[in-house]
Amino acid sequence: MTNGTTGPGVGDAPIIETRDLHKHFGDVQALAGVDLAVPPGITGLVGANGAGKTTLIRLLLGLTAPTSGHVAVFGTPVAKDAAGLRARIGYMPEGSCLPRDQTAADFVAYAAELAGIPSAEARRRASETLFLVGLHEERFRYLGDFSTGMQQRVKLAQSIVHDPRLVLLDEPASGLDPAGRDQMLEVIDRFHGFGMNVLFSSHLLDDIEQTCDWVVMLDGGRLIRSAPLDPPGDGTAVSVEVFGDPLPLVAALTARGIEVTHAGRIVTAVSASEEVFVSVRDALADSGSSVRGMGTDLRSLEDVFMAATKQANG
């Protein structure tokens, strides 16, 4: 048995690509002109309810056809070979998807056979995968007797049992207690080392921050951000409280190309570059503003998401 330590082996070529992707359900626009290139690794898919996350996942699986536009996985257009691609994609749905009358071992083996793994090998892999997610002892229990946390682990196991190159996880930590959530994220965090790429949809931005190295943000069917997620946040923010009018400082920072927000006399400058400190110093000097207080804080993914949403909505 080998414990892979390398990535998917596809270099920096995008694993997921969409071009001008549109999907309408009648009058409802689920996706609108999404241009996306997701690199190998663990990618977070973020968006509110109705943002288009599930529609995007279904398009990647070839379960629904785009209204217009192009979608490809591993460079292969989904429309061209959806069944072939699905053999190398794992999917963990958000909702209930387990048969109550089967044992965990039987179901995970069956899931492997559905992906084309021969029967004897499927049973071996089911046992190993259930060990990986911490359910080896319980593998002969019926799924109807499992707790929510255990069911989530079985769902995760079935998504990787057939050695997929891409795993689509829809709210994998949903319904788990904090300890169960941490264990789930720990397992997911190891997937890239097993040669798998992950697209991880979640409402819980903390989970994305903890696990992912790239983030895709959707809002109302539109792509609002697809960028690396540098731990522990996406850029550094410097907050400056000034005496008097903050606007000269805002103007000076904006002139230096720094993203600025201000509330009252507190001006916050944000940049992915560590040069933001130098820019703030120079802007203070140029604007002649008097500093009352100053500090740094790291932007959370939630701040980034809210800012991106706000910007996208004008």
């Binding site: 048995m1 892979g4 699986l61 699905r86 794992g90 749905p93 109550r100 056979e113």
Partner: protein
């Protein structure tokens, strides 16, 4: 303690797979295999085995009893024509068709309802398996299970009669070659009607029991409606209402195949020939395939 003795496995990691992948055909085969297990209660709790195996025991047991009766009567000093007292092929077929109706009412919904209501379709269709593949695999499972249910007891009966025949085993088989096509042909007609209606019921019902009850209620209810039109002299319905008696069509065709008097069949009394009943069976199957296909396309 040596270092080897104290060694423990903390993590077995993950093993990649470079072997063959069987694609859509393999996925369909897996669905068929799992369907077989589900309807027979294999790898399930004991209570899930009770109903199917009771019916299987009833079907096989009744064939065994008929053979035993034949054996006992053949060993009596007086000659006894058991065919007058106990049903032979057509009569046994009549009995087994009622048991098979119950079996189909249970089996069809078992194949479709849990997958749909428990959300397992989300996983099926994320694999290299299209909706059409899934339904074809389920249909193949249903056919294999139901036709086995029909044919194995009949085979047991046939071989038993052959073994007890005074003319000898092979002579008896030679003289009754028509059974070898009549029984499967009649079973196929029954299967087509039963499976079509059971799948339609199973495509919409949220529970196995509801689907089974709905399936039987439709068959019995439509029979009653057709009878009502036929019997109510004061308000005779149009002739075609006799065709609503869906349960009667396979029986009428079976009697046609076995060359039996079928004058009491509801469609026969309305003046329809068995060909019309055969067309009705085919028509119901075509409509059912369309309805189930539409339903699953909408679901996915």
């Amino acid at each position: 303690m040596s270092s080897q003795e104290s060694a423990i496995i903390l993590d077995r990691g993950y093993r990649s797979y470079d072997g063959p992948r069987t694609g859509r055909r393999g996925a369909m085969a897996a669905v068929v295999k799992e369907g077989y297990r589900r309807v027979l209660g294999l790898r399930r709790k004991a209570k899930r085995k009770l109903f199917p195996w009771t019916l299987i025991a009833l079907a096989l047991g009744s064939a065994g009893i008929l053979v035993a009766v034949e054996w006992i009567s053949s060993s009596l000093p007086v000659s006894l024509d058991t065919s007058e007292l106990f049903p032979r092929y057509a009569g046994y077929f009549d009995f087994i068709s009622n048991v098979a109706l119950l079996f189909a009412a249970f089996t069809g919904p078992q194949l479709l309802v849990p997958d749909r209501t428990q959300g397992v379709l989300n996983i099926y269709f994320s694999r290299p398996l299209a909706v059409r593949d899934y339904l074809m695999a389920k249909g193949a499972t249903f056919a294999a299970v139901i036709l086995s249910f029909w044919l194995f007891p009949q085979l047991l009966l046939h071989l038993g009669y052959a073994a007890l025949s005074p003319a000898g085993f092979l002579s008896y088989l030679g003289e009754t070659t028509d059974i070898l096509w009549k029984v499967p042909a009649a079973a196929l007609v029954f299967f087509t009607m039963h499976s079509s209606l059971a799948f339609v019921a199973a495509s919409f019902a949220k529970r196995v029991g509801t689907a089974a009850a709905g399936f039987i209620a439709v068959l019995v209810g439509l029979n009653l409606v057709a009878l009502l039109f036929q019997e109510a002299g004061s308000a005779p319905g149009p002739r075609w209402t006799s065709l609503l008696a869906l349960e009667q069509h396979p029986r009428y065709v079976r009697d046609w195949i076995f060359d039996l008097d079928a004058s009491i069949a509801i469609p026969a009394q309305a003046g329809y020939g068995p060909e019309a009943s055969l067309l009705m069976v085919i028509g119901v199957a075509v409509v059912s395939v369309a309805v189930v296909g539409w339903r699953y396309r909408r679901l996915t």
